[in-house]
């Protein structure tokens, strides 16, 4: 069977473009055709910028031909989570309050990709303001899991992860505040990295929990993730928490060698609430690394059960402050009828934000209010310090911590929304990584009996992404190639762009009449 363009990884495609086997336009057209074919089923995107992508493809091709662009991602089509600003292209955070917002500048991480010659296809769906674990809180409708459309893709970067799984892009950017890259990567059978806090600039990322937010790659394999992270990591004076690192040559860690690597398995990650099929697949992956020479042992990681309550206090507090900028004055949604300036603020916000966002703004305002600040907010920050200490202790003994990315595979649509607390508990294995600022990665390691993907999570000490990449790559070599989901109507889709007649709308606006 002829391998279609869409089957290629980002790095493979980049190489073929460089070797003139495939043109940038062909690659972009292949992605756009797949988007057109699959969007009705999956709804990964909020906005597709067809004309801009095709125009950009020709520009990038010229620069490749002229020898100006030589990197591994030159000409490769990418999808961007809709909480990263893209100049002149709608950036909605999947919220009604930003339904018509066109930024006047581009986020630094996206700029870095564009400088490397990547072609932005469009903006992906997400939980509103990244608050949610299923992509169902989006104001523009849910995204469906390409492996089974009755199930959620996870969240909040559900659109990015589903788009990679559905081959509607070659890689994507997501953001991770409490697991929002790793959990949907696990649910969609793709690979995602949440880097060490401060590694990728947050300039132009619409803030949710500023002390926790981090942008990272979502891709088909570890090699692609390493290449993308190498491209987007940068020291940026425009982000005051950006860190100057000299060790961002992440692709140098793609070595298939874990001999002597010390891997710790926290017993506390394998207790109550963990699905048995997930447990089995993750432990089997640990055995693979052991066979390859890693030293694997169990240990006690304390305080796991305190991470979620601490997170919801801290993230909600920061969100209540960050989201105070949405006031109906400078951009976005403004209510039609109001009484005075404060009435305008209140009504615009109340009509513009969805229920989960309001819930977190209310909780955040409460825990920061006088009389409760010490009992909730400071208490959570002290807990965060203790959780960080537990990880410090663990990394004195281990290079990498291994566990599941999520306690289950993707739940059915609608099953999580009715009980917010239950949805929050699904983040138990990912959230503490954000509190401690650590890097984490999810790599597909199997499927459950229903065929839904299972994700292996690898956690490293601060600045130790390379160890994650080494372990993930070594595992992946033993596991073998990961296949794309069997998508209805997807056969031969890679070649169909040549004969495509009809045109998709150049911009599918997220906007609704108001």
């Amino acid at each position: 069977m002829k391998k279609s363009i869409l089957d290629l990884t980002a790095v493979e495609l980049g190489r073929k473009i460089k070797e003139k086997e495939i043109t940038v336009r062909e690659a972009v057209e292949a992605s756009l055709a797949q988007i057109e074919k699959m969007e009705a089923s999956f709804h990964c995107y909020v906005t597709v910028g067809k004309e801009a992508a095709l125009k950009r493809a020709d520009e990038v091709q010229k620069q490749i031909d002229a020898g100006v662009l030589t990197g591994p991602l030159a000409g490769v089509p990418v999808a961007i989570k809709d909480n990263m600003c893209t100049k002149n292209m709608l950036t909605t955070c999947s919220s009604r309050i930003l339904y018509n917002f066109r930024p006047t500048y581009t986020a630094e991480a996206v700029e870095n990709l564009e400088r490397a010659g990547a072609v932005v296809l469009g903006k992906t769906n997400m939980d509103e303001f990244a608050m949610g674990s299923t992509t169902e809180t989006s104001a523009f409708g849910e995204t469906k899991n390409p492996w089974n459309t009755e199930h959620v893709p996870g969240g909040s970067s559900g659109g990015s992860c589903a788009a990679v799984a559905a081959e509607e892009c070659f890689f994507a950017l997501g953001s991770d505040t409490g697991g929002s890259i790793r959990q949907p990567s696990s649910f969609c059978g793709v690979t995602g990295i949440k880097p060490t806090y401060g590694t990728v600039s947050r300039y132009g990322l619409i803030a949710y929990g500023s002390s926790l937010d981090q942008i990272g790659p979502v891709a088909k394999d570890v090699t692609d993730c390493a290449a993308v992270l190498e491209t987007i990591a940068s020291y940026d004076k425009k982000d005051s928490t950006s860190i100057e690192r000299k060790d961002t040559d992440f692709t140098s860690a793609l070595t298939d060698d874990v001999k002597g690597m010390k891997i710790g398995i926290p017993k506390d990650y394998f207790g109550e609430g963990l699905d048995l099929e997930v447990k089995k697949a993750v432990l089997a992956a640990a055995d693979v690394l052991k066979e390859k020479g890693a030293v694997v042992e169990e240990f006690d990681l304390k305080l796991v059960e305190y991470a979620i309550p601490a997170y919801y206090v801290i993230a909600s507090a920061e969100a209540s402050s960050n989201l105070s900028r949405f006031d109906g004055i400078k951009y976005g949604y403004r209510t039609k009828e109001y009484d005075g300036l404060h009435g305008l603020y209140k009504k615009s916000r109340s009509e513009g934000f969805g229920p989960e966002v309001k819930r977190r703004i209310m909780l955040g305002s409460f825990v920061l209010s006088s009389g409760y600040y010490d009992a909730y907010y400071l208490k959570a920050l002290r807990t965060k310090a203790l959780i960080k200490q537990e990880f410090d202790k663990a990394f004195e003994k281990y290079d990498v911590i291994l566990g599941p990315a999520a306690p289950t595979t993707a739940p059915k649509l609608g099953a999580s929304l009715s009980d917010p607390l239950k949805m929050y508990l699904g983040d138990i294995y990912t959230i503490s990584v954000n509190l401690a600022g650590l890097p984490g990665m999810s790599v597909p390691c199997g499927q459950d009996s229903r065929g839904l993907p299972i994700g292996l999570q690898l956690i490293g000490d601060c600045f130790q992404e390379k160890k994650l990449i080494r372990a993930g790559f070594a595992y992946e070599q033993a596991r073998g190639p990961w296949k794309a989901p069997a998508m209805a109507g997807a056969s031969g889709c890679g070649d169909s762009f040549d004969s495509r007649k009809e045109e998709p709308a150049s911009i599918q606006t997220a906007g609704e009449e108001n």
Binding site: P309, R349, I361, M362, R382
Partner: protein, 98 residues
């Protein structure tokens, strides 16, 4: 549940959050906030007396730069996003009486 959120608390939080909730939303918010706070109270099991509150994992320092404009004012493009504008400025309801 241990945390009973009063109507007054919801009113007050609504003022802080600049949100205007319907009666139905208020009742739901009371219930949701109560159950989430019950869950958050789990933190009280933990002795945190010896721990300093950690706002950032790494030390955060001020980042200084010369006070030089590096981007244009971009007024026209920024105003394109405004729900209402007038004479090159954002238009808001009258807030100060003559």
């Amino acid at each position: 549940m241990a945390n009973i959120i009063s109507d007054e608390t919801i009113e007050y939080v609504g003022i802080l959050a600049k949100l205007e909730l319907s009666e139905e939303e208020k009742q739901q918010a009371k219930k949701d906030m109560g159950s989430i706070l019950d869950y958050i109270d789990k933190l009280n099991e933990l002795d945190t007396a010896g721990a300093e509150p950690m706002s950032h994992v790494f030390p955060v320092n001020n980042v200084f730069r010369e006070d030089v404009v590096v981007n244009g004012d971009d007024r026209e493009n920024m105003l394109k996003n405004a729900p209402e504008q007038k004479d090159g400025a954002y238009k808001v309801p009258k807030t100060v009486e003559n």
